[in-house]
Structure formats: C-alpha cells, structure tokens
Point group: C2
C-alpha cells in the first residue's frame, strides 16, 4: 500500500503540472495552478485512490499501476479535493484549517478557491479521458458516468445540500444515513466500483463490491462523527468539534458515542462479509482498507 | 432553429427534473434542484446548444434530435450555466442581474449558488454518459474529453483566472486574445467540435470547423465588449458598463469602438471562409449562427 501511495502522489503531481496539453500552446495560469496544487498535494490519506487500486487488483489480479486504475484513482481524489476546497469556503463551513494547513480560500482568496475547486472538478474528467489510447474508450465512458453520478446532485453535492439545510434540525437515523450516503458514501463506493470497472469485474463481483463500498462509506462517516468529538484538531489536521459548534446532526448526537462506535463495528463486519461473498481470490488489500477506515485515529 | 430551441428547452427541463436516476431510490434535494433549474431554464440565447446541433447537421446531414447531439448540446449549456452562477458570486464579479432576473446567489444564497454551480458542472458529464445505450461509448468518451478540456484549467476556468488577475492592468492585444480564447472561445469552439464528433466528421471537416469555432469564439467576445459599452442593462439582461466599472481590459479599451466593430467583421469573414473550406454540402445553419454572433444586440 505504501508503494501505491507513492505512485499516486507522483501521478497527481504530474497531472497537476502547468505543462501545455497535447495540441495546445497554452498552459494553466500560474496562480490557478498554484491553488490547485496546494489543494491536492502534500496531504490527505488518499483513501479513495487506495480503494480504486485495491479493487482493481482484487478483480483483475494485475498490478494497479496500469493506466486506467491509476487515472481513476487520481480522478476520484481530484473530486474529493475540489469538494473540500468549496466546503471550507466562508459561505459553507467557513473553515480555516485543513490537512494541518490554512484552507485554500485563506491562502488564495475566495475567488481563487472557487476557481481552483471548479477547475479540479473539471480536471477529474480530463484525467479520465486521456488522448493517448492508454484507456479503452468504453472504460473511459463508464468511469466518467460513475464519477459524475457519485459526485453530483444525487451524490456528493446533493448530500452537501441536505447537510446545509439540516443545520439545527433533528434528523431521524434514516435521514442522517441518507445524507451521509450521498455526501460521503457515494464517492467512497464509486472508488471501489471504478477500480472494479477498470478490472472488468464480473456481475457477481461488482454486486459484492457495491455492498462493500456502501458499508465502508457509511462506516467512514460514523467514525468521522466519533473523531469530531474525541480527537483534537492537531491530530485531525482540521478543526475538531466543528459539528457540535455548527449544531449539525451527527451519529454521535443521534445515538451517543458508544452506540456509534458499535455501529461502525457492525458496518465493518458487513464489509468483510461482502468481500467473502465476492468470489474473488484475494481481497486482502480491500479488507485492510476497511479496517483502516474503522480504526483510524484521524 | 426555432424548432431546435424548443427541443433544447424541453430536454433541459427534463434533465433537470428531480426524478431518481435508474437504479437509485434517491432524488435531487428540492432546494438544490430549484437553484439548478433557476440557473438554467427560462433564459439564455442557447447559442452553444445551437452550435452543437448545427455542426452535427452540417456534418451528418441527419436530424439533430438524435440522442448524442442533443445530450452534447445540453451538456455544453449546463457548463455555461454553471460558469455564470459562479462568476456572478460576490467573490467574483458580484453581479445581481442575469438574463433579466436576480442572480442565483441573490435568490438562493451564496452556499446555494456555489453548490448549484458545482452540481451543474457534474450534471454535464452525467448527461454525456447515459446508461441507456443511446450514445456510442467511444463518442461519450470523446465528448467528455472535449468538454473537460474546454472548460477547465486551460479553458474556461483558466481564462477566468487570467481575467481575475488582469483587473486594472493593461493587456497587450495578444494577451487579451489569449484570455478570451480560454474564457469564452474554448467552450464555443468545443460546441462546434462536439457536434462534429457526434456526426463522425472527417478530419478535413473537423479541421475546418475548428477554425470556424475559433473565429466565432473570438468574435463573440469582441461583440460582448462592444455591447457592454453601447447597450443598456435592460436590453442585455445583465449589468451594462460592468467592464469599465471594474477596470477590466477589453477590446474597446484596447482598440476603441470602431476598430473593435471592424475586427468583429473580419472574424466573421474568417468564419465564413472556414465553412467554405470544410467541403460540407450544407453549412447554412452554422453560417446563420455566425451572423447572429456578430450582429446580435444583446
């Protein structure tokens, strides 16, 4: 996994170069490029890219440095990074600390952050559609489709909209789960599915990995809610205690700390069961990532 | 063209429905859906969709209501709409009037506008990747690739970044042209290219249409600069005189009103010459759109 991480960092760094794309004399304007790099590089757990690569390896048995899964891994991380940049802006969560650094709008101004987020989202789809023939066009189309659906109106952006309108309201457990499945779960699940699609997974394997992705997506958010209460800002690299300060409904506010921890454990068991039922010979990397999601401390 | 317009409006309205996508029980959250619809429907000249459809008909000789060009037309308009929503925000151009209505952030708040813009961008790529088999996957991939490159860091978003950093600075004609080619020209040119790709254009036709798209893209911006000085807000449906107020470099500030008008005429001649050289039997709809770009009054 350490090797995957290094590879992802290298490819992200390369994709975020200022270089002119083939057939164009133009380069990314310097200030925009700085803000985009700042938002993506030198930080982040890269959980989503690691899920893409682990799913690809589990399905195909091949090395995850192939072009399709590596591009899918980077595209998902670009979408994740764009969402953090926009969510941190003053009109949204108004946060000043992220990955232990000042947030993008603090560093580059609000207009700079808005544009950098916009361009990072676009870049994800550029990365998924290389012009060099390295990724089968049918796979390109499926990857774009999965990523767009997971990050848009009935995915991440939709979840964020529900989150915004839920401040100060008590949500039922069903509504809270729905919000988180959209806001965080959809993109984590999409990461698994994109890796599987790159590896041309069978229908059985796809179905099992969909259930796996759903369980860890939800577990991630439950643990996030627990950490927001139990960890400090230095450990998290972002402002702790934010949800309570913002009067946001969370698993902890709904079911308490102990039941939230137990629920995360239940979801982990569901995730492992889905892997067992996948019929795939080696899902150890996916299993390790599931454990990391549940047992993480930041 | 009136028929195309009606068709585009109908399809946009349908695509922006709140309905759950196939395979999902979830719908777009109501507030997000309202803001997205407000940003797109009931307004706009739909120049980009018309360019897509005209290019498709010129290349294929077929009716533009086919799935691929209609989806491409709507996707380009969604990208255009998202860019207007974000550009109007207080941290960018801080504008309150657009298409004769209050801008999205005035109507839905800044967070609502930020999210609606984000989700509209994503929706463009969702629209280009239908799951119903109506568009060849290879065409889907090419359309996503063209649209992403035209709207991202070395396209629209890049041009907007240069624009932001140019306020109060004198630009050379070359720099001004470069900024506008990115900010406005790239997406107009992409509209033409996407229509051509849907129609499986020959290399010769593609090259001619690329030149056509470049000429009208630049002409559009020159005329925009002229109208910002000569038209009133009621006619434009947006705030007139904004560029001078914001001390932005424009063609009019660089070369004066008369030379700007003459330059728009020169670009129109270039556009028509490109059509002549395309080898396509009927480019009358594209020629009519080029004339509309140059002779428009709002």
């Amino acid at each position: 996994m350490a090797q995957h991480l290094r590879h992802v960092e290298t490819v992200l760094d390369d994709l975020l170069g200022q270089h002119a794309p083939p057939g164009s004399a133009w380069v990314t304007p310097a200030e925009l490029n700085h803000a985009m790099r700042y938002a993506v590089l030198d930080g982040g757990k890269r959980l989503r890219p690691l899920l893409v690569l682990a799913a690809y390896e589990a399905v195909s048995g091949r090395n995850a440095s192939d072009a399709a899964p590596m591009r899918a891994a980077c595209a998902v991380e670009l979408i994740h990074a764009y969402s953090l940049v926009h969510d941190d802006m003053p009109c949204m969560d108004n946060d000043v600390l992220r990955r232990g650094k000042p947030t993008v709008h603090v560093q580059f101004g609000q207009a700079g952050a808005l544009l950098a987020g916009d361009a990072l989202q676009t870049l994800a789809f550029e990365v998924l559609t290389p012009l060099d023939g390295s990724v089968d066009p049918a796979v390109q189309a499926r990857l774009c489709g999965i990523l767009a659906r997971a990050s848009g109106r009935v995915g991440m952006a939709g979840g964020q909209a529900i989150d915004l309108s839920s401040v100060g309201r008590a949500l039922s457990e069903d509504s809270l789960r729905h919000m988180h499945q959209l806001k965080t779960g959809a993109l984590l699940q999409a990461s698994v599915m994109m890796g599987a699609v790159c590896g041309l997974a069978s229908a059985t394997a796809l179905q099992a990995l969909e259930a796996f992705g759903q369980a860890i997506g939800l577990a991630f958010q439950v643990v996030d809610d627990v950490l927001d209460v139990t960890a400090d800002s230095a450990t998290l690299g972002k402002t702790a205690g934010k949800d309570a300060d913002n009067d946001k409904p969370t698993y902890v506010s709904l079911m308490g700390l102990e039941r939230s921890r137990a629920y995360a454990g239940t979801l982990a068991v569901q995730a492992h069961a889905a892997l067992q039922g996948s019929g795939l010979p080696d899902t150890s990397a996916l299993a390790a990532l599931a454990n990391r999601v549940v047992h993480r401390v930041h």
